[in-house]
Structures are given as structure tokens and as C-alpha cells.
């Protein structure tokens, strides 16, 4: 008898005995074998004491393989054998099924038996009737329909043509369809809708999810569950529910009379809008009110925009009159012919705009004058250094006033530039990218003015300087650098304040380079400042400190954490805890380092007094204060203490939005961190939304290939993964990896990161071979970059070891 059998026998014997007699029983049976007795006793104790997770099944208590087998016969519906569930709606289930008579694969739509569904058996059979009247290559055919009995309840089924494909949005993203292909798809869908209308049937629920694209790129319209005959009238014609995002305003508002054809046309327009702008039609107001922002109009401009807007007209009467007309227009556009969709007159639109923005237009004229006189454009960075010094002189109030002034001026300039862009856009025949026009205007001003200003070098200097800063607000850092370089060329002289100004300007350039993502160029400029400081004892301590902190910041951006740690300690030793912005910026960096190391408590301990000091010395609205709010909020967030995290990050977002604007990289950073907080709180949908905004904002402001944009896209993908939206996450991550390999330097750590994350996704999706390849590629990259004991390496090795 094996040891285990012995244990089994004793264990069962003990269980059978009354509890009081057990001890005695075991002592007798085990004799001197103490170990055996202890073991059986503990097993009995566990048996008595605990409810085990083993009692429920791994798949929940409802699942029994044996019952499953028995039930499988029930999934015969008429002559069809259901093979796999492919759709799970409120009122019906859709199976991939097999016609046992012919072996043909069908999509079997089955009314949920006994469900309180909106769709009744009669509705389903009516759907079949409508579908039978349709015959179009882009409409999934109805092959059969009938009543059925399921689990004793009456039900009905439709056998539809099975389409092997993906939904329109997924297809467009994963196949990277070009604009032409997208328009062709839209035209084909519009033709299918036209066919349905001609046969007297309105679809009523057109949306990307109801359009499948097969392997050859042909679209198929599916799900006529909300379809109605055009011959029905009154309430019978009004379809239920609908997807608000793609529904016409009259349908959303429930306004009568309802014209199903016009409503379908609107949905086609909304789908087109989404397909061509990559922006959901409902992102900002309804699509008919939405203004395409600079970055999303790339594919929707000029005549094409007119065609789509015509379909999105608010008033059904003014809307594109039929699906046929919409298809014709798209085809005309593709053929390069003139489109017929009307264009709102430019004059009318400009007049409306000017009326609505009278104050701003006036303000803009003033701002332009100020700009040219070089008054408004004091660098915010320079201003910040001044503020720091002022603070040290305990002229805090004065500092705040100055800061407010410079911010007000900056905001006015930005507002002005935006209006200029808007005016250009409105006036131009084709609505070209507005921001480009503003930049062009700013740059041409910079080119045209110097001759006029010959001799007035100070004014020229101010002009280039302020233009540089204004351009930074558009996120065009390379142009910022160009302008600041020109200012630098004018900032000669060896006088003390001239040297100081040069150093400060160099640090501004370094900041712009850093924001561009070019840390090496940034560091080169910082080195120049360092040389100036080495040569000239007159360079002030605050500038030296600012220079050192800028270096630490650039190095951190490059991921050279170890060097930053050493440098930060040196700076701290040299400059101590002097009041001022740079010192507090350093505290911010120190907090970041600690957080990165996972030492949240210490980070919070350091950042909290720094934030209080910044509030007192620099004011609520100062850049460094806002940065500290952000970093402290993020530290709390990572420490999983959500209440303070939420308060701080909300304050940071509000402050940064007010001071820097919605589109500033720092604002987007906070948005990004807020998304991470929401994810930690389990508010996944909100997190996804915030992350999408951060990623989109960064793509627009920093460019789609900026390392920070890539990080945001990475988090977005991560978020999709957390929501179980694997196919989308996969597309995103593959795309990301490709971008990273295109733009990041050979040994940039992010390359490894995206490999790793792709591998983790594949791992979870069960694609083990590909996951393995990617883990290995990541390891190879990181082994060449990190020290052998870096936790990131052991992390990947561990993940690799978990693969089956």
C-alpha cells in the first residue's frame, strides 16, 4: 500500500468517525508514525474548515462538458447545424452554421428564445421578406427563413449569406486602405443603399459595424433588423432605437415627419466622415457642426469635404437628395470631375464668423502691432528665469504680475494667430490646413520685416524671439528653433546682460529642441551655455542652475536615469534648496526619479513640500507649480491612493489648460496621466477616451512619430487590450512598432518596449510563437542597452519563461 493510499484510507476513516473520536482513532492507527498522523490531521482540518474554490468549476458552475455534449443536438435549427457563435445581440444570436443538406456555410440569425426582445418572430420574418426583395452584390443575401422550436420555446431563424470578413472600420485600419480605396468602398456601400431604396426598403441602422468587408475588399451590407418598407407610413415607418452616432438629427430628436431615405443618406455621410477623418462624427457636437481640425482634414478637404458635408446637412430638405446622388458625387470626385454639391458661400461664412468673434478680431489687430513692436513677445522661458530671480529677491508680487502679463500677451498672440489661421481657412477656396497658413504668415513676416527694421536690431531680435515662441505654441518646434537661432545671431556682445541674454536664449532653444524630441541637439545647446558659464564668471547663479536642471531634464527624456540621478544629487549639493523655479523644477525631477523606481512614498514626501513652496513662491499658475501638481498627482496615482491623485491631476489639467492651452505638450502629458489614473481606478472606458484624446493631441501637436506620441499610442493600445479589444490593439501595436523602427534611433529603449508589449498581447491572445519571437527581439535590444541587473531584463526573461 502506497503512502498516499494509506493516507486516503485513514483520512476517510477519520471523516466517517465522530469528530470527538478522531484524535484517538488516528493515534491508534498511526502508532509511532507521527508524520502520518500530522498529515492526516491537517487534511481533515482543511476538509472541515474551508470552502474551496475547487468546488465551483473553472468555467463556473453552469458548465458541464457532458451536458454540453447532450445539448449539442439542440443546436440544430431546421436543416442547420450551428457551429460557432459569432454575434450576440439583445434580441438575437448569430451563429456560423452549416446547411446539413448542402454543406454550405451560412450566418444563422436566431431569435433569442424566450427573451424579452424587441424583435418578435413576426419582425424577423418581415425582415426576411424585405431582404428577399433585394438582390445586390453588396448586400448579404437571405437564403432561408422559418420558425423553429428551441428549448421548447418558439423562435424563428434567418439563414443569411455568410460573409468572411471584418467590419468596415477594422478593415480600413488593418488594410491601411488609402483615401481612394476608402472612397470606393463608400461609393459601393452607397450603391447598395440606393438599391435597397429603389426596391422600397430603408436600412435604418447604417453604421460601420453593419458593413463587412470580405477578403477581396468588397463591402457587404448586413443586419436589416431595423429595416422598414418605404411604403409603410406613420409610426410603422419609424424605426426603433438606432445608433445615435450615425443617426440623423431628425431621428435623434424624434422630430416628425420622418424621411427614412434622407435619414439613411445622413448615416452614409456620418460613416464617410468617420472613415475620412478618423474622427468620430460625434466627437465634437454633431458632424454637421463639427469643424475638421487641422490634422484630421488631411484626407477630407476641398470638394470631398463639400460632398460629405452635403450629406450631413442638418435640414433634411437641404441634404444630398439620395444615396444614388451621393454615390455619383463620390465617383465624380474620384474621376476628377467637378462635384455638384453646393458650397456655402465664403462671404456668408466669414461674416458669421467675424460677427461671432468680433472682440477677438479686434484683439488680434492689437496683438499684431504689439508683436511687430516686439513688446508682447517676451519669451515665457526667459520670463520664467526672471520670475525666479525676482522671487529670490522676494519680489513675489511683482513676479506674478509679470508672469500674468506675459501670459496674457502670449495668449493674445496665440488667439490672434489662430484667428488668422481661421480667416485664411475660411477665405481660401479649398480649405487647406489652417495652421500651415498661419505658420507661413508668421515666417513670411519674419522674412519680410527685417529689411524694414534695418538698424533696429533690438526690435528684430524681439521679433524673431517672439515669433519663435509663438510658433512653439503651434507645436512647430523646428520653426521655433529656426527663429530663435536667428534671434541668437542678433544677440551678440560681451556685456554682462548680453551674455546673460544669450545664455537664456540658448536655454530656450534647448527647451524647444527637447520638446521636438531631439535631446542630442538640446544637450549640445546646453553644453554651449555651460561653456559660456565656464568662461564668464558673470553668468548668474540662477542661469547656471537652470542650465544644470535643463541638462538633467534632457537626460531624463533620453532615459538616462542613472546619470540624471548622479547629476541631480550634484546640483542639489551645489545649489542647495535655494528658493526659485529651477530649484523646484529639480525637486520635480527628483520626485520623478523616485516614482520611476517605485519609491512612491519618498517621492510623495519630497514633492509635497516642493509643491507648497512653488505655490507660495511662484504662484498657482506657474509652469513649475503645474508640473509639480502633475508629478505629485501621478505619484499618488501610482501609489494607488486615488483621492489625492484625482484632486491633483484635475488641478494640473485645469491649470495647464488655462495657462498653456489644450494643445500644449504639458497639458497633454497631464491628460495622459489622468488616463492612467482612470485605468487604475478601473474606469476603463473613461481611460480609453482620455488616452485617445492624449494620443490624438500629441499626434497633432508633436507629430505622429514623436516618441511621446508613440508612448501615448502605446498606452491607448494597452487600454484596448485591457478592454479585451484585441484585434484593434494588435493593429495599433503593429503600426506603432513599425513607426518606432522608422523614426527612433537604432538603440532607443522604446523600440524594445513596443516589441515587449506586442509580445505580451500576442501572449495573451494565445499566439505563442510570435510572442516568443518578439520577446526575444526585445531582450536582444535591451541586453545591449541596460545593465545586466536591470529589472526590465528580468521582466522580459520571466515573461518568456511563462510561454507554454
Amino acid at each position: 500500500m502506497s503512502r498516499h493510499s494509506q493516507i486516503r484510507a485513514l483520512f476517510l476513516e477519520a471523516l466517517a468517525a465522530p469528530a470527538a473520536a478522531r484524535e484517538e482513532l488516528l493515534r491508534r492507527a498511526c502508532g509511532s508514525d507521527e508524520e502520518l498522523r500530522a498529515e492526516v490531521e491537517s487534511l481533515v482540518r482543511i476538509h472541515e474548515a474551508e470552502e474551496s474554490f475547487l468546488d465551483a468549476g473553472a468555467l463556473g458552475s453552469g458548465f458541464r462538458v457532458s451536458e454540453a455534449l447532450a445539448r449539442s443536438d439542440e443546436l440544430r435549427v431546421g436543416p442547420y447545424l450551428a457551429l460557432a457563435l459569432i454575434g450576440d445581440g439583445a434580441s438575437s444570436l448569430v451563429y456560423r452554421a452549416c446547411d446539413t443538406r448542402s454543406g454550405v456555410e451560412v450566418a444563422l440569425k436566431l431569435l433569442r428564445p424566450g427573451a424579452l426582445s424587441a424583435q418578435t418572430i413576426e419582425d424577423l420574418l418581415a425582415e426576411a421578406e424585405l431582404l428577399r426583395g433585394l438582390e445586390h452584390p453588396a448586400i448579404a443575401r437571405c437564403l432561408d427563413a422559418g420558425r423553429a422550436n428551441l428549448h421548447g420555446a418558439s423562435s424563428a431563424y434567418l439563414a443569411l449569406e455568410f460573409v468572411r470578413g471584418t467590419t468596415l472600420n477594422v478593415y480600413v485600419r488593418s488594410s491601411r486602405a488609402c483615401v481612394r480605396q476608402r472612397i470606393e468602398l463608400l461609393a459601393a456601400v452607397a450603391r447598395a443603399v440606393q438599391h435597397a431604396h429603389e426596391r422600397g426598403c430603408a436600412h435604418n441602422d447604417l453604421k460601420p459595424d453593419n458593413i463587412l468587408v470580405d477578403g477581396e475588399g468588397r463591402p457587404k451590407l448586413i443586419d436589416f433588423g431595423a429595416a422598414r418598407s418605404l411604403r409603410s407610413s406613420g409610426e410603422a415607418a419609424r424605426p426603433p432605437g438606432g445608433t445615435p452616432r450615425y443617426s440623423s438629427p431628425e431621428r435623434r430628436n424624434g422630430r416628425a415627419p420622418f424621411d427614412a431615405v434622407a435619414s439613411d443618406v445622413y448615416s452614409l455621410g456620418a460613416i464617410a466622415w468617420e472613415l475620412l477623418t478618423a474622427q468620430a462624427p460625434g466627437d465634437e457636437g454633431s458632424p454637421s457642426e463639427a469643424q475638421p481640425s487641422a490634422a484630421v482634414t488631411l484626407e477630407l478637404r476641398g470638394e470631398l469635404e463639400r460632398v460629405v458635408r452635403h450629406a450631413l446637412e442638418h435640414e433634411p430638405a437641404r441634404r444630398c437628395r439620395s444615396a444614388a446622388f451621393f454615390a455619383d458625387e463620390l465617383e465624380r470626385y474620384l474621376a476628377g470631375e467637378a462635384v455638384l454639391s453646393p458650397r456655402p458661400s465664403a462671404a456668408r461664412r466669414l461674416a458669421e464668423f467675424a460677427r461671432a468673434n468680433r472682440v477677438l478680431v479686434g484683439g488680434f489687430a492689437a496683438t499684431l502691432l504689439a508683436l511687430m513692436a516686439g513688446v508682447a513677445g517676451t519669451s515665457w522661458a526667459l520670463q520664467r528665469a526672471r520670475v525666479a530671480r525676482d522671487a529670490e529677491r522676494e519680489q513675489r508680487e511683482l513676479a506674478e504680475v509679470r508672469l500674468e502679463q506675459s501670459q496674457a500677451a502670449r495668449q493674445r498672440a496665440v488667439q490672434g494667430a489662430k484667428i488668422l489661421g481661421e480667416l485664411f481657412r475660411r477665405f481660401s477656396d479649398r480649405s487647406r490646413d489652417g495652421a500651415e497658413k498661419v505658420e507661413a504668415a508668421l515666417v513670411s513676416a519674419a522674412n519680410a520685416l527685417p529689411p524694414v527694421l534695418a538698424g533696429a536690431e533690438e526690435v528684430q531680435f524681439a521679433l524673431h524671439h517672439s515669433l519663435g515662441i509663438a510658433l512653439a505654441d503651434f507645436g512647430r518646434y523646428e520653426l521655433t528653433v529656426e527663429q530663435l537661432e536667428r534671434a541668437l545671431a542678433l544677440a551678440g556682445g560681451e556685456r554682462e546682460e548680453q551674455l546673460e541674454r544669450r545664455a537664456s536664449l540658448l536655454l530656450d532653444i534647448a527647451a524647444a529642441q527637447s520638446l521636438r524630441g531631439d535631446q542630442l541637439a538640446s544637450l549640445a545647446r546646453i553644453d554651449e551655455v555651460q561653456r559660456l558659464a565656464d568662461l564668464h564668471a558673470s553668468i548668474s547663479a540662477p542661469t547656471r542652475l537652470r542650465c544644470a536642471v535643463a541638462r538633467a531634464s534632457a537626460l531624463l527624456e533620453r532615459g538616462r536615469t542613472d546619470e540624471v540621478r548622479v547629476l541631480a544629487a550634484q546640483i542639489r549639493a551645489q545649489h542647495g534648496y535655494a528658493p526659485g523655479a529651477s530649484s523646484l523644477a529639480l525637486a520635480s525631477i527628483e520626485g520623478r526619479l523616485l516614482t520611476e523606481e517605485g519609491r512612491f512614498e519618498q517621492a510623495i514626501e519630497g514633492l509635497t513640500p516642493a509643491l507648497a513652496a512653488a505655490r507660495a513662491q511662484l504662484g498657482e499658475r506657474h509652469d513649475v507649480t503645474l508640473g509639480l501638481l502633475n508629478n505629485l498627482g501621478s505619484a499618488w496615482s501610482q501609489a494607488k491612493d486615488f483621492a489625492p491623485a484625482e484632486a491633483l491631476l484635475d488641478a494640473a489639467l485645469e491649470g495647464r489648460t488655462k495657462v498653456l492651452g489644450e494643445r500644449h505638450p504639458d497639458t497633454l502629458q497631464t491628460l495622459h496621466n489622468l488616463a492612467s489614473l482612470r485605468r487604475r481606478q478601473g474606469r476603463l472606458e473613461e481611460a480609453l477616451d482620455l488616452q485617445a484624446r492624449a494620443a490624438r493631441g500629441r499626434a497633432e501637436v508633436l507629430g505622429p512619430l514623436h516618441p511621446r506620441t508613440l508612448l501615448s499610442r502605446n498606452n491607448y493600445a494597452s487600454q484596448l487590450q485591457a478592454l479585451g479589444r484585441f484585434p484593434e490593439a494588435l493593429v495599433e501595436l503593429r503600426d506603432l512598432l513599425e513607426s518606432a523602427e522608422l523614426v527612433l534611433p537604432e538603440r532607443h529603449w522604446q523600440r524594445g518596449l513596443y516589441r515587449r508589449n506586442l509580445a505580451v498581447l500576442l501572449h495573451e491572445m494565445g499566439e505563442y510563437d510570435e510572442a516568443r519571437t518578439n520577446y526575444r527581439a526585445c531582450l536582444e535590444l535591451w541586453e545591449a542597452q541596460f545593465r545586466p541587473d536591470d529589472p526590465r531584463l528580468s521582466d522580459v526573461r520571466h515573461l518568456l519563461s511563462l510561454l507554454p
Binding site: 493510499s5 481533515v44 468555467l59 458548465f63 458541464r64 460557432a84 457563435l85 505619484a635 484585441f726 511563462l802
Partner: protein, 184 residues
Amino acid sequence: MSSPTPPNEHSELYAQIYEEIRAIARRSMASERRSHTLQPTALANEAFLALARVREAGAFERTHVVALASRAIRRILVNHATARLARRRGDGARQEELDEQLSDELSAPSGADPLELVALNEALEELERVDARQAQLVELRFFGGLSHEDIARIQGVSARTVDGDWALARAWLRRRIDSAKDPR
């Protein structure tokens, strides 16, 4: 009723069943948009369709299919749990201004806790070495959701024996798992 054949992991049939169920798992993960993870119900719903198909394909012994399916479900769930644990702990590299790139903590799925699952799997492997019959019982009951009557039929023993085996295996596994959790 044929004599119970121990499920053979190298058989063609097992490969077929495994692939079927894995495909289901993958699909249900891909299509269940709101789910954070494998949806047990979705998996269960589809598993029986797959089993039906396998059975139609080649009139196999029902008990055989059931045993192999239980094994396949175990392997799939454990692999999946392992991957989820990896993601849960994988905070990985962090850079940038407090950007966090990975760390996707998942809320617990509606099925078993992944930690428990992985620990159970290890304990079960150990039990296999000590008493293969009890290990198979756990596999059939926990992963396959089989009743003791069915298991008795598959194993060719009495239902009473299964009851006894279960009581012991349950306590034995619990103890293994707990001692692995906090080693003294």
C-alpha cells in the same frame, strides 16, 4: 461501455479538440469587447458546439472526448492565467514624465482567480505523480465540469470511490497550494 482509456495527449483526437477549444477561446476573447479576459460563459457556450462537431466527425467514444476536452480546457485556462499574471506583474519599463506604459492591472475575471489557477495546476501536476486517478478526477470535475457519476463511469470505479477521492484530493490540493503560497 468500453473500458476507460486514459486520455492520450499525443493522439490526433486530442490535437483536434485542443485546437477547437483554443480557437473558441481566442475568438471569444477577440469578440467580447467589454470583457477583460476570457469569458467563461462564452467559452462554455461554444465548447459544446466544438465537441459536437468533433463527435460528428468521427464517432468517438463519448467518454474519451469528454476526458480529452477537460484536459484541453485545463491547458488553455492555465496558459491564459499565466499570461494574465504576467501582464499583471509586468510593470516593465517606465520613463518620461511619470508616463506609465504598461501596468495593466486587470480586475478579476468571472472565472477562477488566475493565481489560484496557476497554483492549482502546479499542485495538480504533483498529485499526478502521487495518484494519477485522483488527479484525473480533479481535471474532469474542475475543468470539465463532470458529475461524480460520469467520472465514476469514465474511471471504471464506484461513485463512492469518486466521493472519497474527491474529499482527499480537495484537501490535499488546498494544502499544497497554501504551503506554496507562504512557505514556512
